[in-house]
Structure formats: structure tokens, C-alpha cells
Amino acid sequence: MNTEDVSRRLFLMRSLTGVSSAWLALRLPEIVAAQEHAHHAAQSAAPTKFEFLTPEQAAEVEAIAAQIIPTDDTPGAREARVIYFIDRALTTFDKDKQQQYVKGLKELQSKQKKVFKNSTKFSDLSPEQQIKVLKAFEKNPFFETVRVHTIMGFFADPSYGGNYDKVGWKLIGFNDDFYFKPPFGYYDREYKETQ
């Protein structure tokens, strides 16, 4: 075991704070191993460059994704780096959707020109204008594909390139720890107290 492994192991042990039961002492090696495995996978996610999308296409797709899960007081699809998830999906398990993206972006473009005559790029429109275009476009199968990809990229394991810093999981209150202790929620805590 090299130094880095040891320090990561110690970090993980420390990060399981407040837990000192005999149970955990017995189980820790397995939980640490499982958690290390997951965290290692998550580390490999640093985005580099686009493999399939051109920068122009990526900007358009990202603008759509950012309306599907918008940024408000919490991060949205943009901050989750959903676009990197989508690009990776299009070069791996969803290769067969490449042409749908190419064609779909053109269809979006023509829909957009019907709604706003002199506009150029979708990503250059104001958020209100983008919503208006997408409302007219949401029955298009390409929109549904982007919608599903955006949601996947927002909530999938960060190792796929999206859900950066676990912002998707944080939004809904999900936590990917490998170990929890009761009480788990409000009603079982209350239940114990009133038994």
C-alpha cells in the first residue's frame, strides 16, 4: 500500500465521524474498500475536451440543458457540467443518437427562426426567449432526448462527467455515503421517542 493509499484510507476513516461502535470497527475495512472504489471512479471524471460535439453545438445543447434544469439559488445543469456527460454518452452508450443531435439542432434552429425572425444562435437568446422557443419545440423527439440526457447527467455518478461536485444529489437531499446510522429521518426519530 503506498502513502497515498494510506492517507486516503485514514481520511475516509476520519470522515466517518462520530462512529466508534464495535460494529464499525469490524466492518470498516469492507466499507472503506467499497467507498474507495466509488471515489476512485468519481475522480476520473475531470472534463477535458469534447469528443463528439463541436464547441458551437456544445454551447447550443448546454443552453437547452440549462433551461431543463435551470440555475437559481442552487446549481443547475450548467454547473453540473451536464454537457460533458452528454458528449461522453454520444461517444459511448448512446452513439446511435449522434445524428439525432446533429439533425435536432438544425430543427431547433428553424423553429427558433419562426418564433424570433432575426435571431441567430439559441444560446444567444435571453432566458425568456429560450423558454418560449423550447415550449414550441418540446414535442420534438430531440428535445425529449436532451431532456433525458440532462436529467441523467445531473443525477448519474460523477464518474460519467456530469453531476459535478454532486450538485444533483445535493439538490434533492441524496447522500452517497456507504454507511448510515438510525435514526434515518424525522418520523423514525419521533417514533423511537414515543415508544
Partner: protein, 552 residues
Amino acid sequence: MNGQQPKFDNQSQVDFVVIGAGAAGGVIAKELSTAGFQVVVLEQGPYLKEKDFDHDEIKTLWHGALVNDWKKQPNSFRKTPKAKAKVQPAVLYGRMVGGGTAHFTANYWRFHEIDFIERSKLGSIAGSGFDDWPITYAELEPYYTKAEWELGISGEPGPFDPPRSRPYPLPPLPIKSAGALLTTGARKLGWHPQPAPMAIISQPYRGRSACSHCGFCEGFGCEIKAKSSTLATVIPEAEKTGRCEIRPNSYVRKIETDNAGRVTGVIYFDEKKAEIFQRAKAVVLCANGAETARLLLISKSNLFPNGLANSSGVVGKFLMFNGAGLATGVFEHELNEFKSVAVTRIIHDFYDSDPKRGFYGGGGIDTRFDVYPMGYALGVLPRDTPRWGADYKKALKHYYTRSMFTFGHTTSLPVERNSISLDPEAKDSWGLPAMRVTYKDHPDDLKIIKFFVDRGLELLEAAGATKKWAFPIGEQNFGVHLLGTCRMGNDRKRSVVNKYHRAHDVPNLFICDGSSFVTSGRGQPTCTIQALAYRAADHIARMAKNGEIKSS
């Protein structure tokens, strides 16, 4: 060679080939090998270990890493025998060493006494092949107990439970918020909640780790062996005997017979699709309630023109899926149901069929919110939620930690036309006929689903839900519980195996898995599949030792 997995020569005749390493096959392989027999287990899926499991929703659920692959093994589906079947996914099962027990939710309910004798108590039901089992609860009870103690089940008996000869080996898992809300609501309604029996260990047991409450039970493999799958329990024990060889990635194409009508062995494709014949004195078929029937139908010969062991014509028939009556409720405070096991409390007040309702059916209720982030965001929000945009995001944020389902697990009647058969056109990647599923719920099956949806809504109301809604009820076209297709019985004209799981037509062929069921139970088949497997293995070993299984 003790303690090491042997490599048997294909040409040497082993005592048993077991087809399928799942809930039943794993148990039978362990029982027969510890009884001193040589066993080869052929499993179509891979041999994964704990290190191969993770919490990756895309790999495991989206791409289905642990289950059958419809691209390689297409299904076709139709509602009635007159319709032409369309190629579409129709059944889902665990495809790996451990089978469905690796990824199942781990609910582990025994059947009640009534399940085995319902026909005698209630009479016949029009449009169904409703029948008694050839065995009683009392005959199976010792094997339920054996399964619970060997595999490691956590639980505590409830007021409606059948008699048991030993307590559960492990105490129940800690209650969760959905369990607490179920208890509160049920008590208000005068119902009788009880701890859920789970095949997940609440304390260290037989060298395995107790549950760490990570929440990734349903659909996933357990990284710390807390789930009592056959992969984590009996299969390693079978290997330790030195008499059991597990051959993963082995896709069986035919159970071979001789001119005397006895099984001689099994022909299968290995990982490279090379054809191999493994000779055996006897075969135990445990490939699940869908593939078992398909394999028998494929294994036809001059002597068995309608498929092996099918002189009755009922191989593949009486398929039962169970039903699900679902409702969702939202609560003021956080439940955090993503933590720990899916289910901690259940209700069995409506287990029995009550003639006063005017239709047949019964079931049990649990509460849970067993969806992972991606699946939740894609499929589980209230129907009035926008599909994208700022309000969609608000809904995402609100519901995940505050929601629970009420889940009514219900009966399906055995209907003869509901079946597994061979598709006349579609083929799998090995060139074998694809599985064709014919299924249309008996009208009573839909009525009992509705009954449980209504009970669920009452329960949510009583528990104080701020918002609640029911899932729509429709005819089923997809099954994960695969039951009844090689039913047990004393009448060889109306059943496939006898009460010892021996095929009526083939003395050295045994069949034991969900296909053996005569009735469907209340939506939790695994416990009974495994009790049947322990019992079958006991009788098979006895017959083999007494020289009652004559091979070719």
C-alpha cells in the same frame, strides 16, 4: 481437493447438472454437494463478486448489468393466444451467479397455511386453473426454517404469521420513517403492522457483515455480503465441498435424452459459443419460471415432440406475475428513504381472500421509496409536475426526501392461456427460438390491485400525508415474478412435476424454481422458492442414495 472448486471432465458422468445458479439452483447445488454428490452448475450469466458491485445507476439499472439483456435474448408479447406477438421486453430476471437473489429487494415472507389449500377453502374460480398444492404448509415448514437459518433472515413474527418451529435467527433491521408512518397509520385504522422479514442481516452472521444501511439493495448487488443472496451464502459453501463446479457464461441449448426417455446430460454454449455436452446421471432444472419452461419446450425430440416433460401439455402454462397496487404520499418532514433497506414494516391484515369482497384475491402492504436519483427524476414525480424548467427543479428538490409509496403485493390467478411459449419467428443470439409471453390478468387480479391501491390511500391519509395520489391500474405486460409454468401436482395430466419436483414423464429430471408454484402467493416468492429448493434437495438426495434415480 477439499475446499477447491473441481474441474469435471465433460465426458465423465457427474451425479447432477444443476441448470441455473439463482434462488433455487444455489440452494440445491449446496445441498447436493454437501450430501456427497458431484455437481456441475451451469449459469448463463457471469460470476461476479462483491468487488464488481457499485452504486452506479447507469451501469447497473440503465444498462442492466445484473439482469437479462433483451438485445441478446429478445422476448415477444401478446395479450391472448389469437394475437400475433410483438417483440418487446416482457420478463426481467437476474442473470448472474446468485440470480435474482443478488439484486432483489430482499423481502422474505413465508407463505401462510391458506396459500396451499385455497382451492379447497374457496372452491373453483371461473376462468382459472385455481388448485391446491400437493404439499401443505406443515410439510414445508421445516424447510422455511432451514432457509431462514442457513441464509440469514432478520425479522420478528406478526399476528397473522403461520406457525414456526424456530424464531428468526436475527432481529429485525432498525425501523425507518416509512415504517414508522406505516405503523402510525395502520394503528389508527385498526390494522396490525409488523416488522418486515428481510434477507438482509441486521447483525454479523456466519462470517458476513451486518447491513451498513447504504440503501442500495433493490436492483444492486451488496458489496459487503449483508444481503443473504445465494452468491454470498450457499454457493461459496457448495464450492467448499470440493464437489461442486460453477460454470458461469454457460448458455444451455438442450437437455438431452436417450431412446429410453431418460436424461443423459445437457448441451450448452460456453462463453465463446462453442457447444459442449456435459454428461450427468440426473438434471435439476432451476432456470426461473420463464427460462425453465422455454428450455423444456426447446428440448423436444422424437420421444417428446411437444417438449421435454410435457405430455400434460401444461409446460409454460399458468404463468403468474403477481400484481402491484401502488400509491404515493408526501409528508411534511424528511423521511430520507434512500437510506437503509427498502422495507421495515408490513401489513398482513388483508392477506386472505375474503368472499365478502365479491372477488378472489389477497396481499400484503409495505411502504418504501426505493428509487435512486436518476430514476426518481425521470419517472416518479406527481403527474401534475412540469417536465422541465424552474418548477420541475423545485419539485425535484421537494419530493425526494419526503415521499413514500404504499405497495400492495397481490395475488395472480393461474390462467391457462397466460404462458411462456416459443416465438415462431424471433431468435436469440444463439439462434434459439425467442421467448414468447402471453398474458392478460384475470379480472379478479385487477380488482385486488384496485383494492390495495385504496387501502394504500387510506393508510397515507391516516399517516398524515400532505399530498397523495394513486398509480394508474392497467393490464400487465411485463413480469419480474415468474411463477407457475411447470406446476407441481399429483395429477400427471394437469401438472409437470410431482410433489418431490420430479418430472412426471422423466424419472431423472427434477424441476424446482418459481415454475413449481401452483398459486402465486402474495407477491413475495423468493422465500418459498428457497424452502421448496431445500425440500426438493432433501428428497433428491434421499432418492439418489436409495438408488431410486436410474440414469441412462
